[in-house]
């Protein structure tokens, strides 16, 4: 466990000593604030539904910037040679980095809580729905982070890592839209099942379904396992 903690602390220190974390958090909060104001004050609907939907797509596009350096940065700085020769197991490196990325996600999520102040002051929102939306948001983010982290391990170039991650995450987000073009029922339900946005939609509507929770966790686990296996294989 020591190894995971050491990697985690090192990653966190690295995030906050480079401008990337501040940039991503700032863009995310600006975007979320804009969507919130637009949805609440211009349309006059006192719920977070639309805002969550917008936060989801914003997250999908920003996560690659957060994850791109996780492994690519280690390769290009030649520090991977240190990590792989220290008494660390591959999974400890993967989990330490992942937990740090999840911490960044949680910080971003908590910061959006400021939107709830006017919502509760001037409206009468349903707390359970909001809570479920936030749970869905964090789970969605965890799956995206795991995927981004895996792609970051495949290349030395951070930009390339981001450029692979963005279309993959967008594909998972929009894949549900392809349902309309499919004649076969099983294919339609498969596409719906793989859709990040459809599962997220359940959470936004206040439905905390085991299937949706499991979906995001399984996606994260698969990506992290691939990540670990890839590091082992490299040796």
């Amino acid at each position: 466990m020591n190894g995971v903690v050491a990697i985690y602390q090192k990653e966190l220190a690295t995030y906050f000593r480079s401008p990337i974390a501040y940039f991503v958090i700032a863009v995310f909060l600006l975007g979320t604030g804009y969507f919130f104001i637009y949805n609440i004050f211009l349309t006059g609907i006192g719920t977070m539904d639309e805002t969550f939907q917008n936060m989801g797509i914003l997250l999908v596009t920003l996560i690659p910037i957060l994850t791109m350096r996780l492994f690519s940065g280690e390769y290009s700085a030649r520090t991977m040679e240190l990590l792989m020769t220290l008494p660390l197991k591959a999974w400890q490196i993967v989990i330490g980095k992942y937990l740090c990325a999840v911490t960044m996600l949680l910080l971003m999520t908590i910061a959006t809580g400021i939107n709830l102040i006017p919502l509760y002051l001037y409206g009468n929102p349903e707390s359970s729905t909001i809570l479920s939306g936030y749970i869905g948001f964090v789970l969605l983010g965890m799956a995206c982070l795991a995927i981004g982290q895996f792609f970051s391990a495949l290349t030395q170039n951070q930009i390339v890592a981001a450029l692979i991650t963005i279309p993959v995450l967008l594909a998972f987000w929009f894949i549900g839209h392809a349902q309309g073009f499919q004649a076969s029922d099983s294919l339609r339900s498969l596409l719906g099942y793989l859709s990040f946005s459809q599962h997220f939609g359940d959470f936004i509507r206040g439905l905390l379904r085991t299937e949706a929770v499991a979906f995001y966790l399984v996606v994260s686990a698969i990506a992290l396992t691939l990540n670990t296996s890839y590091l082992k294989w490299q040796r």
């Binding site: 000593r17 700085a77 020769t85 040796r235």
Partner: protein, 321 residues
Amino acid sequence: MNTTSTSISLESVSKRYGSRNIIHDMSFSVSKGEIVGFLGPNGAGKTTTMRMIAGYTTATSGRVVVAGYDMATDNEEAARRIGYLPEQPPLYDVLEVAAYLRFVAKVKGVARSAVASELDRVIHACRLEAVVTREIYKLSKGYRQRVGLAQALLGKPEVLLLDEPTAGLDPGQIQETREVIRAFGADHAVLLSTHILPEVTLICQRVAIINDGRLLAIDSPDGLQRASEQTNRVSLIVTGPAEAIREALLGVEGVAAVEVRADRGDTLAIECQVDSRPEIAAAIARVVAARWSLHRLERQQPTLENVFLRYVGEEKSGAKA
């Protein structure tokens, strides 16, 4: 567990990348309390061998055993006993020196209560006091190299692997770094790669010469020199008839073999294999200059440089044949 004093052992180790053979059937060992220099031209396979011993890559065949642990199966246990400075020091630029060293100490399993004193020890040994609170990206090349060395020394590892530890240092720093390595080598096994020849004579008990992924020789610097002294060379440039000169030279006591090549016109380039007596060059000069015109005579000294070039050169001509 290991019970003998052998800390690093390679048994018939080979490494292949695709169809390319990088390391061929390499075997040697390093004992506790011994500093072994790994000498070879660029691209000889020094870094790859270091990486296999450090556990960064695995051998395609053969066995690498470090501190009694097989790197193929127990590399994590072995990693606790290895300090490794790669060719390019693996540093996190945005961290301060102290934060970086604390990170490595923690991963190496240095007890929480011992971290501060362990950091002090390596910071002092590598003369890093002045830059402890500075971010690594602000450091000069010499300091970066020494932060890398400090990292390797953390946790007093049984085995120290240093890939060109003095590269990029100024003469004063090189001197200090050698002192650190020599002190550490007194009770640990150290393998250091370099292409700076005087370095190995100064601090290494044994030298391994490698080229093209093959181990050509391993011996003490003195032993290698003695071996080459038996085949000392004197080279001459003379104008005269080849056969007559060859006979005259073979008549000189201590000349074992003579090789004659045409240089320009009737000028000849001649190489004599001689024994180690210093007066031979003068005797050859007397014999040749009395009858023909001698343009140049040079006694090749058995420096480690010559030994190295001889091994590497022989290997090259052997490969061509």
